[in-house]
């Protein structure tokens, strides 16, 4: 699996698979729960690549640039997730796979991992990268589940990856600013934490190139899975309802023009003896 003859004899080609998710950007959006009570209204939201996956893709492209090989991006999502795959191709991925089927809808992280596994197990890979979590459900599960299904070692919360022949040294984020360094045999799966690198912007050249690349589309029938494996039937968890988090305490809101608000803040701070 490890070809050591290329690239100055120092590094070998690596085939990297990156799992990405197409998610709504919600950090600064005001969210509403829809009529079903089980999802949010998404029509007014902008969708993009999951922030954590963005770092995973960048890491994969950097590895390919340094030591050769390929980068394949893969997603489970509806047809509109195509835009996220195009973005990945524009940023340097070589090939893309979209797993789309109405039966995949409402899959939880476990069912998503099964769907990803069904496609990835037939690919050649030395490394699988993905975000440590997704900004929508935040379950942080898909990576380790996929690693178990593929029977390869893994690390989550990865802040640094240093590749050697057949192994990788990775730093994992613990709590309170502490990290741990592990040595892991390849092939392996790493779920990366934000901040591991600085994702690049898409170049015009990249966008042009991406337009010509083909995206392979697979449905349930192509995966070898059954209806019972995916969607709610194949999931560990089912959403009963969504609701606005109860407010235990609410800030006293300061209102007025910016000048008036500034005066109020300054007075409060001064009254505490802090000016």
């Amino acid at each position: 699996m490890f070809n050591t003859s290329k690239h100055n004899g120092e590094f070998s080609d690596l085939d990297v698979v990156v799992c990405v998710k197409h998610v709504p950007e919600t950090a600064e959006a005001e969210l509403r729960i829809d009529k079903t009570g089980k999802a949010i209204e998404k029509t007014s939201l902008v969708f993009d690549i999951n922030e954590w996956d963005d770092y995973a893709l960048e890491e994969a492209v950097r590895i390919r640039e340094k030591q050769g090989g390929t980068v394949t991006v893969i997603t489970v999502g509806a047809q509109d997730s195509e835009s996220t795959l195009r973005k990945c191709l524009a940023r340097g991925a070589d090939t893309a796979i979209r797993l789309t089927d109405p039966k995949f809808e409402n899959s939880d992280a476990y069912a998503i991992a099964k769907i990803l596994h069904s496609a990835i197990k037939n690919l050649h890979y030395d490394l699988i990268l993905l975000g440590a979590q997704a900004g929508d459900d935040g379950s942080a599960m898909v990576g380790p589940i996929l690693a178990e299904m593929l029977n390869i070692p893994h690390a989550t919360m990865t802040k640094k990856i240093e590749l050697n022949t057949g192994t990788a040294k990775v730093n994992r984020e613990l709590e309170g600013g502490l990290e741990e360094q592990l040595e892991i045999k390849l092939p392996a799966l790493f779920a990366v934490q934000t901040g591991i690198n600085e994702p690049r912007y898409v170049s015009i050249m990249g966008i042009r190139k991406a337009m010509q690349k083909e995206i392979k589309v697979m449905g349930l029938a192509d995966t070898g899975l059954t209806e019972a494996d995916v969607g709610p039937a194949g999931s560990w968890t089912t959403i009963e309802k969504l609701y606005v988090p109860p407010v235990e305490k609410q800030a006293e809101f300061l209102k007025g023009t910016p000048e008036e608000i500034a005066t109020k803040i300054a007075d409060i701070v001064k009254s505490r003896g802090l000016i």
Binding site: L31, G138, R172, E175, T237, Y243, A251, P258, V269
Partner: protein, 329 residues
């Protein structure tokens, strides 16, 4: 008798807070049913930890092995898979921590046990285990049901349950179980702990902090905030995205993966208030938050909130403070 397993989390000789938070929740659940709380403790030379845990759990399952000196998810997976298969607990709880995140999904898959992560609450209902979690960075709560099973697994958010010693001491028994590890885990080895280099500023010592977040939008806006900090005599701190972008060094990060601070003033600018950040600053004496989203979670932790564009507030506030300082002088 039905059991609830709590995986004890410890590091560098210390039992971590999440352990006691989970044990408290487990005891609350076992009180309602006829189950028993079992603390599962894996490590090396940790009898002292086991003794401490007897004050919280009816049973402490202890596995000691030099190969468990440091956390290794593969070693834990092997041992826990056997213990869970043997004891068939109704629930296995772990922290939604770096360790729990590394271990739980893989162990659950190996055992075919339904798992819900990052839980804020757990309730046994007629149809099975119901959990409360959050989505979209804490903006929405979710009630979810786990698929019916003999054993459920959950990871639990830190600082969600308040740790309390049981009113009636359980006088727990320590049951030592031999380790089944025959050799080191070859595919995944712990090398060392790493502390990122310090940037020279100790935000935990500051009396006044200005915390900045994603709402700053662009690095060129930093200078405006720095000027305000200078005028106010405050130190700049931040939430994770600012460190990720490289605008401030990692020792300025407030939150679960950064520092815990307790200044006299925490002025949060453009911080939405994801729990990871809030965990590190909610005990500040005075919290004032500026955010454009009126529903931003930070407003449930702040004393005063301002729903406004921070770029309008910051220059005005700088001017006001400058004025007040002038009067004083």
């Amino acid at each position: 008798m039905a059991k609830i397993f709590v995986l004890v989390e410890h590091r560098q000789g210390r039992l971590r807070d999440i352990t006691f938070e989970m044990l408290t929740k487990a005891n609350e659940l076992t009180e309602k049913t006829d189950a028993e709380t079992t603390a599962v403790l894996l490590g090396n030379n940790i009898v002292e930890h086991a003794k401490t845990l007897t004050e919280y759990a009816k049973t402490v399952l202890l596995v000691q092995d030099p190969k468990l000196e440091n956390f290794n998810s593969e070693a834990y997976r092997k041992i826990l898979a056997k213990l869970i298969t043997e004891h068939k607990p109704s629930l296995v709880m772990m922290g939604h921590t770096s360790y729990g995140i590394e271990l739980a999904p893989r162990l659950a898959t190996a055992l075919g046990t339904p798992l819900a992560t990052d839980c804020l609450d757990l309730t046994f209902e007629a149809d099975g285990l119901a959990v409360t979690r959050q989505m979209y960075g804490g903006k929405v709560n979710v009630k979810a049901m786990l698929r019916k099973a003999e054993t459920y697994m959950t990871t639990v958010r830190q600082a969600t349950f308040t740790a309390e010693k049981p009113a009636t001491p359980p006088n727990g028994q320590i049951a030592e179980v031999p380790s089944l590890l025959t050799e080191e885990i070859a595919e995944k080895r712990f090398l060392q702990y790493v502390l990122p280099p310090s940037g020279g500023v100790d935000i935990t010592a500051a009396e006044k902090l200005i915390g900045i977040g994603r709402g700053i939008k662009d690095q060129t806006n930093m200078s405006m905030i720095e000027e305000l900090a200078k005028t106010l005599g405050a130190v700049l701190a931040c939430s994770r995205p600012i460190v990720d972008k490289g605008w401030l060094p990692s020792d300025r990060q407030v939150g679960s993966s950064g520092k815990t601070v307790k200044p006299k003033l925490y002025l949060a600018l453009g911080i939405s208030g994801a729990f990871q950040h809030v965990l590190g600053m909610k005990s500040s004496d005075l919290i004032i938050a500026v955010n454009k989203d009126p529903k931003a979670p930070i407003f449930s932790f702040a004393d005063y909130g301002i729903v406004e564009d921070l770029f309008k507030i910051v220059p005005a506030l700088k001017g006001k403070i400058y004025e007040l300082k002038g009067q004083k002088a």
